[in-house]
């Protein structure tokens, strides 16, 4: 248990130290050391509790309760401060509601309901801890080099606000650890709100008008989720008389109809955090932030907190949909989650096709994949949860790898547009191979993401979720399109361009390598990860093993991914073939540069842009449909779940 406390508190201490450090070299040393310590500690934790079932820890402390309350008030105060300064009425109103609500809750209800076992861990928490500890701290190391370049690009005399930046990054990690280890739902809620406000400050880091606008959009949406969370706490405290997550889940599994409203509310909180439609715009807006922030928000933290909560709730939703006595009411949260997740997956995959901005493509792909995880959580069968856990893992590592690569590429080619990544294979040979690895891992067999999607498809087929099968089939097809054309752009070779990756910071390489090695290890060791980490969780929750894909097929996938990694990093570029020019139909001027003699005897360049199919898959066409459908689904679900409140009707 000491290790849990260490993981939660240590990043916080580091954050405090970093706030005070002004010197670059000292900061570099502190961040690297702290990242190493956090990484090693989380790996140690994972190893020492490998395959653990639910292990609660007796820990109850009024001091922590009060600390959490103070933090909550501080969070709300910070939001109010910025809300007033930037004249954002919605944020102020929501923050006011929240601070009032949490204070009333703390004094009127929470003290009467102590949670004896404040902390816990299980295999899912361990998986999350691994992601936060290794991927999250890797991103922090990456940020060192990145922010140095970023600061260099700032106008002369701009204030160096990097201490705040790094402090926020580590505070974020601390809050995430709190979320995954808290059995006390009030503590969990505190971590939840801290991630909200940290990401608000990180998104608004540049303080430009656009950044502030997007930061406020994030805070307003996540405050809605936060208030829903608070509402769930009220219902738990008043109606169920417990604030322990475990007890809540146990009550829920036994009587899903009873907890329909709090589960719906918590699911809404999860949906907002996981940026599902109609809340997806905050994640798109978050792209204005420096790339390490995007990487942190997208891959290992923030959005993962949302899906983590939903996966935790999935046994209750499963019980709700299959409970004979529950009726329709009990299945409300599951239906809402499944539909919102499924619709988000398909529509965001479609919209990703129409994007040329690499970070926006990554954002849409993140939202889409989270949608799939959310849908899996809503289905809630052991098989679906198995798939969801793998989606979380592979998405975290592959997406962070991609973000880090895009960030580095952006600083060296001066653009984050996919069309400008033309010929990256020669301009940044190592980086482009890492990027290709990340892309492959995101969408194609035999890599992890696709194995998880495969499991998802099987679990949908087994439970007869027709709508989800249809959504998955079309969404996956769109996924192929937008990744394949990006991969194609990266792979282009012409004109022996100058290598521009020689001055990439060592810290950036280190982080990128860590992610790449993790991707390969996890893909190659997929059956082992399943056996040691994911299966124990599924077994501890459901008492049965849910695995859709036979171990032999997992091994085939593992062998093929190793082969592909070898081809990518050792096999490409070796050939005995004599090099010849490409065909340009007519007279080439400079074949390597793809220029040819045109009809007026002038020189034209042959260049091709990818297809973005704006007329078919454009945002303007698709986003309103998704927003409208998902909003209606959520509103109807709440109306239906409210029926369960005693005394309302």
């Amino acid at each position: 248990m000491a290790l849990l406390g260490f993981l939660i508190l240590f990043p916080l201490v580091v954050a405090g130290v970093l706030l005070a450090v002004r010197d670059n070299r000292v900061r570099n040393a502190v961040v690297v050391a702290a990242a190493l310590v956090i990484g090693i500690a989380s790996v140690w934790l994972v190893v020492s509790y490998l395959g653990a079932p639910w292990i609660p820890f007796d820990f109850h402390s009024p001091v922590v309760d009060y600390a959490c309350m103070v933090v909550s008030v501080l969070v709300a105060a910070a939001i109010l401060f910025y809300g007033i300064r930037h004249k954002n009425a919605a944020a102020c109103a929501l923050a006011a509601v929240q601070v009032a609500g949490s204070l009333v809750f703390e004094f009127a209800f929470a003290h009467g309901l102590p949670v004896a076992q404040g902390l816990y861990l299980d295999s899912l928490s361990l998986l999350m801890a691994f992601i936060i500890g290794v991927v999250g701290s890797g991103i922090c190391v990456y940020a060192l080099g990145y922010m140095e370049d970023f600061q260099a690009h700032e106008p002369e005399g701009a204030k160096d606000r990097r201490p705040v930046f790094f402090a926020l990054m580590f505070a974020f990690l601390s809050a995430m650890f709190l979320i995954v280890f808290s059995n006390n739902m009030v503590w969990l809620f505190t971590g939840w709100e801290v991630t909200t406000v940290c990401s608000f400050l990180l998104i608004g880091y540049t303080r430009t008008e656009e950044a502030m606008r997007n930061a406020f959009r994030q805070i307003v949406m996540n405050l809605v989720g936060g208030i829903a969370f608070l509402g769930a706490l009220y219902v738990c405290a008043i109606q169920l008389g417990t604030l322990s997550l475990l007890e809540f889940l146990q009550i829920g599994v036994q009587n899903p109809a009873l907890v329909a409203l709090p589960v719906t509310a918590l699911a809404l909180a999860g949906l907002t955090k996981a940026a599902q439609m109609p809340f997806h715009t905050w994640l798109l807006g978050a792209m204005v932030a420096p790339t390490p922030t995007s990487a942190l928000l997208h891959s290992s933290t923030m959005v993962k907190a949302g899906v983590f909560l939903l996966v935790k709730l999935s046994p209750v939703m499963y019980a709700g949909s299959f409970a004979p006595q529950g009726g329709l009411l009990a299945s409300v949260p599951a239906i809402m989650t499944v539909l919102v997740g499924g619709i988000t997956f398909a529509l965001c995959s479609f919209m990703a096709i129409s994007q040329t901005n690499a970070k926006r493509v990554l954002a849409y792909s993140t939202i889409a994949n989270l949608g799939l995880i959310v849908a899996c959580a809503g289905v809630g069968t052991p098989e679906a949860v198995w798939a969801a856990a793998f989606l979380i893992l592979f998405h975290a590592i592959a997406k962070s790898l991609l973000f880090l690569c895009v960030g580095t590429a952006e600083h060296h080619i001066g653009s984050r547009d996919i069309e400008d990544m033309d010929l990256l294979f020669e301009r940044m040979p190592r980086l482009s191979r890492f990027m290709m690895l990340g892309i492959l891992c995101m969408f194609i067999a035999p890599f992890g993401m696709l194995v998880a999607k495969w499991a998802t498809l099987v679990s949908f087929a087994e439970t007869g979720q027709v709508a989800l099968i249809v959504i998955l089939a079309f969404g996956s097809a769109a996924t192929f399109m937008f990744w394949a054309k990006w991969l194609g752009k990266l792979s282009g070779i012409a004109a022996a361009r100058e290598n521009v990756e020689r001055d990439v910071h060592a810290s950036e390489w280190a982080a990128v390598m860590v992610m790449a090695v993790l991707v390969i290890l996890c893909c190659a060791g997929l059956p082992i990860v399943s056996w040691l980490s994911v299966e124990p969780y599924v077994f501890s929750v459901y008492g049965t093993l849910g695995q859709d894909i036979s171990t032999s097929n997992l091994w085939i996938a593992s062998i093929l991914s190793i082969a592909l990694a070898v081809v990518l990093f050792a096999g490409l570029g070796r050939t005995k073939a004599r090099k010849v020019d490409v065909y340009l139909a007519g007279v080439s001027r400079d074949n390597a540069e793809r220029t040819f003699q045109n009809a007026l005897s002038g020189t034209s360049t042959a260049s091709a842009r990818n297809w973005y199919l704006e007329d078919v898959f454009g945002e303007r066409r698709i986003a309103p449909i998704g927003t409208a459908c998902c909003s209606v689904i959520i509103i109807v679900a709440f109306a239906a779940a409210a029926v369960s409140l005693p005394g309302l009707f």
């Binding site: 010849v580 007519g586 007279v587």
Partner: protein, 147 residues
């Protein structure tokens, strides 16, 4: 034994001509003559072609095009000049910008005169070209083994 003669893929380029020979080449590919009987395929891509059929003469404007197509064809390859213009410049030989026959631009292996060249003559020329293609193919294989 070489397979080059069993699957000659053809690319056709029409230089400065009256289009008469051009049409005859296409006629040879039609059902009436059906050159696919001999495995002949008309391809638009020099990288896939073994035989370069040129109709019409070479002029200042197209000489580089003819040369580029020839250069982009993969060894072994042969060139057939179809029609009198391709052989020598024909009635266009003293036009102000005509250089002459195809052999002014690239090495020609078989000459098939005629105005316009008849499909039978084209097929006959291609069959002759196949003999040369076989020689070249064998030479390439010997060279590869030696290397």
């Amino acid at each position: 034994m070489t397979y080059a003669t069993k699957s000659p893929w053809v690319i056709h380029y029409d230089g400065s001509s009256c289009n008469g020979c051009d049409i005859e080449v296409l006629a040879a590919l039609c059902p009436g003559y059906d050159v696919e009987r001999f495995g002949i395929i008309n391809t638009g891509n020099p990288k896939h072609a073994d035989i370069f059929l040129v109709t019409g003469s070479v002029n200042e404007q197209n000489i580089k095009v003819v040369q580029e197509i020839y250069n982009q064809m993969v060894e072994p390859k042969v060139v057939v000049a179809c029609g009198i213009c391709a052989c020598s410049g024909g009635i266009f030989h003293d036009c102000y910008n005509v250089i002459g026959g195809v052999d002014q631009a690239i090495p020609v292996d078989v000459y098939a005169p005629g105005c316009a060249v008849r499909p039978e003559a084209i097929i006959d020329a291609v069959v002759q070209a196949l003999g040369i293609l076989e020689e070249k193919s064998k030479a390439l294989q010997a060279q590869r083994k030696g290397a």
